[in-house]
């Protein structure tokens, strides 16, 4: 005779097989374990960044911070696209990211898209003003991290652009570059070096590495000439007359009889080979590129020099700006005060300025460090020039770059306009700036309309609400 306990047992077993019960039990136990297990957060500050070079430079500072506070700084190096998605994902979902994020300029646009109060980074404006950092840091360096008058990141760099030229070839030809003040001078003085050695009817050497598809260089030249994609108020001005004139001018460098530019990929081995063989004589060179050249093209050591960029007009700006990073503090940081202290101490440290320059050729935006002696040391790679000083001389003049969530969109539309005009010009035989101007006007107006179409959907930018 079965007892009631036996009957209940039999009922349980009839519901599921023993194996299924074991699986169900394991699922429930593991689920409970996962749920009740506390989320362990490593002690100290969490810093996410994209540059392994920066990470290795920050090691001494993180050790010093640990000695000072007893708390470590845990650095994670993450590629730019992944870092961007991770930070954006955290901001959108409102979940914890890290205490500090070092961001590249192209990442931050969408992070600034919403109302000011919902930007995922801590607004640093008041801290920066209260601690007198506005006066200590090069003012243009704040602009990419400023939206609607508020600053959301501490600037890491200035990134002025100079012109790197093949001194071995140019000086061997007896040419003195000091006579070059404008791009017109540059073309006139160096054109005799554009030769066709193998007799195939094509020059084997061009004067400048630049092409209508070079996204960043287009912006560099536009900014140098006084053009802009956005005003400080965030208005898109891609279709301005100045931009049209500048685009017509720089595109004429790639077209017809006047062509003196070569399309060299600055990131590939093939591009490096062309650079080394002297396919182009000059390159638009931001400070951060110096370190890359020294590491990746040691064959050029002693064969390259730097000079200020030729201006578009006599007396015009001799520099521009390219790239940039900032340190931001996500609002979800558990210790904003500690994160701010670490970021400020790190970026304002003379030791970091030295390492930044000696390792990567990058100059600090901290103006009081510009008088430090290491910036005057001659660089063997650059034929004994004190490159630090050359960049610092131009640093106060770098153009401001207003931040916009639509920056990347505008940059892509600028490239579309440039490619469209260049192709139309090639098919119609137009090549002078005067002939190209109507085309660039039309193309840039269309580009601006395209960006504005997107901007109009954003009530915080268009003021629609």
């Amino acid at each position: 005779m079965s007892t009631s306990r036996d009957r209940i047992g039999a009922l349980w077993m009839s519901a599921l097989s023993p194996g299924a019960w074991i699986i169900a039990l394991l699922a429930v136990v593991s689920g409970v374990v996962v749920l009740v297990m506390p989320v362990r957060r490593s002690p100290g500050l969490e810093l996410w960044m994209f540059s392994p070079e920066h990470a290795s430079m920050y090691k001494p500072a993180t050790q010093a911070w640990k000695e000072q506070t007893g708390q470590p700084v845990n650095i994670s190096v993450i590629g730019i696209p992944a870092l961007s998605r991770r930070v954006m994902g955290g901001f959108f979902a409102g979940v914890e990211t890290s205490d500090l994020v070092e961001c590249e300029r192209q990442m931050v646009g969408p992070m600034f898209a919403g109302p000011l109060e919902s930007v995922g980074f801590v607004d640093l404006t008041d801290r920066i003003e209260a601690e007198g950092l506005m006066g200590r840091i090069n003012p243009p360096s704040f602009t990419p991290w400023t939206t609607r008058g508020r600053i959301f990141g501490l600037p890491h760099d200035v990134h002025p652009v100079l012109l790197a030229y093949r001194s071995d070839i140019i000086e061997a030809a007896g040419i003195d570059v000091s006579q070059i003040e404008t791009w017109a001078d540059f073309e006139r003085v160096l054109r005799p070096l554009m030769t066709d050695k193998n007799g195939d009817g094509q020059p084997d050497r061009y004067l400048l590495s630049f092409w209508e598809t070079h996204l960043d260089s287009l912006e560099v030249l536009l900014l140098q000439g006084g053009g802009a994609m956005f005003t400080m108020d965030g208005e898109c001005v891609l279709g301005s007359e100045r931009n049209a004139e500048l685009l017509a001018e720089v595109l004429s460098w790639c077209l017809g009889e006047r062509r003196f530019c070569a399309d060299i990929n600055e990131w590939t081995n093939a591009g490096h080979a062309q650079t080394i063989e002297g396919y182009a004589l000059a390159f638009l060179m931001p400070d951060w590129m110096c370190g890359i050249w020294m590491e990746q093209m040691p064959q050029l050591s002693g064969k390259v020099k730097l000079m200020p960029m030729p201006a578009f007009e006599p007396g015009g700006l001799r520099t521009s700006v390219r790239g940039g990073s900032m340190m931001g503090i996500p609002k979800t940081s558990e210790d904003v005060e500690a994160a701010w202290s670490f970021a400020r101490d790190l970026y304002l440290s003379p030791e970091l300025s030295r390492r930044l320059f000696e390792t990567n050729g990058i100059i600090t935006p901290v103006k009081e460090h510009w008088s430090l002696p290491f910036f005057d040391e001659p660089q063997a790679f650059f034929s004994g020039q004190a490159t630090g000083r050359l960049f610092i001389e131009q640093a106060p003049n770098v153009p401001a770059r207003p931040a916009s969530p639509y920056y990347r969109t505008a940059l892509l539309r600028l490239q579309d306009a440039a490619v469209g005009v260049a192709e139309k010009a090639r098919s119609t035989g137009k090549s002078t700036p005067e002939e190209l101007l109507p085309l660039t006007r039309e193309a840039l107006e269309q580009a601006q309309a395209s960006v504005e179409r997107q901007m109009e959907r954003n009530v915080f930018i268009s003021g629609g609400e």
């Binding site: 009839s14 954006m88 919902s118 093939a270 969530p405 009530v459």
Partner: protein, 311 residues
């Protein structure tokens, strides 16, 4: 004690549960959320407002979206009408009785599929690069050296005068290049399906057809095609879905942009740009739903056509 059908059902559900839970969390929930997002305007974190069908209306008037759709359709047509016939042709060649080394050829044609798409894109970028690219170097050496600059044919003179070393394939012919690369990648893959289908054709049908006097073309049309139709439909559907979702190849090949003049911009790339580069998740969701509806419509169309054929 014997367990009844109810117990068996419960066990089945228990085993299905992990999949169902994951499916619900990672597919159903995001689908619902994206449907909600598609009727919202989102700008940056923490802001969303209901805009009804505005995102879809804006899409209908968005020239960039039109371009992305056009590019995607061109790529899809290229995939369907070049890739699949080539795959079938290759499969028929490999299905020839008495062919030696069939396994070897099958491996050779299938092997591009073993490479990651990212590597293929990087390799292609090197091949099509101006000046140092393999293709331009070869063309400069072959065409430039062989063609007669004084030829009586104008096109020969034009081809001779082209500076092949500087020819910008990835600037001028983005979509043909993408189709070419995908041919290399997927022809062998689709060929394997077709080959399996061809090997399953009832030989007696072919022989009977031949006895009735049908030539190769008639045998192909009346025996081969109907016999492989289920597999062909499956391959067509896979190609359609894959082509309409094209993203990684142009994304890597064109340096994370839509290419010059957006010639390589696809629907999914535009979705990515809108969602992750501009932060407009609502608009990106609307693009995703339009793509999903296109896929559903095409799949339903194909099922309808298949059923009509079967009748």
């Amino acid at each position: 004690m014997a367990r009844g059908p109810a117990s068996a059902n419960r066990t089945a559900y228990l085993f299905l549960a992990p999949f169902l839970v994951l499916f619900a969390v990672f597919t159903v929930y995001p689908l619902i959320l994206s449907a909600v997002l598609a009727v919202q305007q989102t700008h940056g974190p923490g802001f969303a407002r209901f805009v009804g069908m505005d995102n879809f209306v804006a899409l209908a008037a968005d020239p960039l979206f039109h371009k992305a759709v056009r590019n995607t359709i061109v790529y899809t047509l290229g995939s369907m009408f070049i890739q699949l016939p080539l795959a079938l042709g290759l499969a028929m060649l490999l299905n020839q009785p008495g062919l030696k080394g069939r396994g070897f050829y099958r491996l050779i044609f299938f092997s591009p599929q073993l490479m990651g798409l990212v590597f293929v894109a990087m390799l292609a970028a090197l091949i099509f690069e101006k000046r140092s690219g393999l293709l331009n170097q070869a063309l400069q050496g072959l065409v430039g050296g062989v063609l007669d600059p004084e030829s009586a044919f104008p096109w020969v003179r034009v081809l001779h005068d082209v500076v092949w070393l500087d020819f910008p394939w990835l600037q001028t012919f983005v979509m043909p290049m993408l189709i070419l690369i995908s041919l290399w990648m997927y022809v062998g893959y689709n060929m394997v399906y077709f080959l399996a289908a061809l090997q399953n054709i009832d030989k007696s049908l072919v022989e009977a057809c031949a006895v009735d006097g049908a030539g190769p073309a008639l045998r192909f049309w009346h025996v081969t095609i109907p016999s492989i139709r289920p597999v062909a439909s499956f391959v067509v559907l896979l190609s359609l879905i894959g082509s309409l979702q094209l993203f990684e190849l142009p994304y890597i090949l064109l340096d994370q942009t839509g290419g010059p003049q957006n010639r390589g911009l696809t629907i999914v790339m535009y979705l990515y740009q809108s969602g992750f580069e501009t932060g407009d998740l609502g608009y990106a969701s609307a693009i995703g739903w339009v793509l999903a509806l296109m896929l559903v419509a095409l799949a339903l169309g194909q099922i309808f056509l298949m059923r009509r054929e079967e009748r």
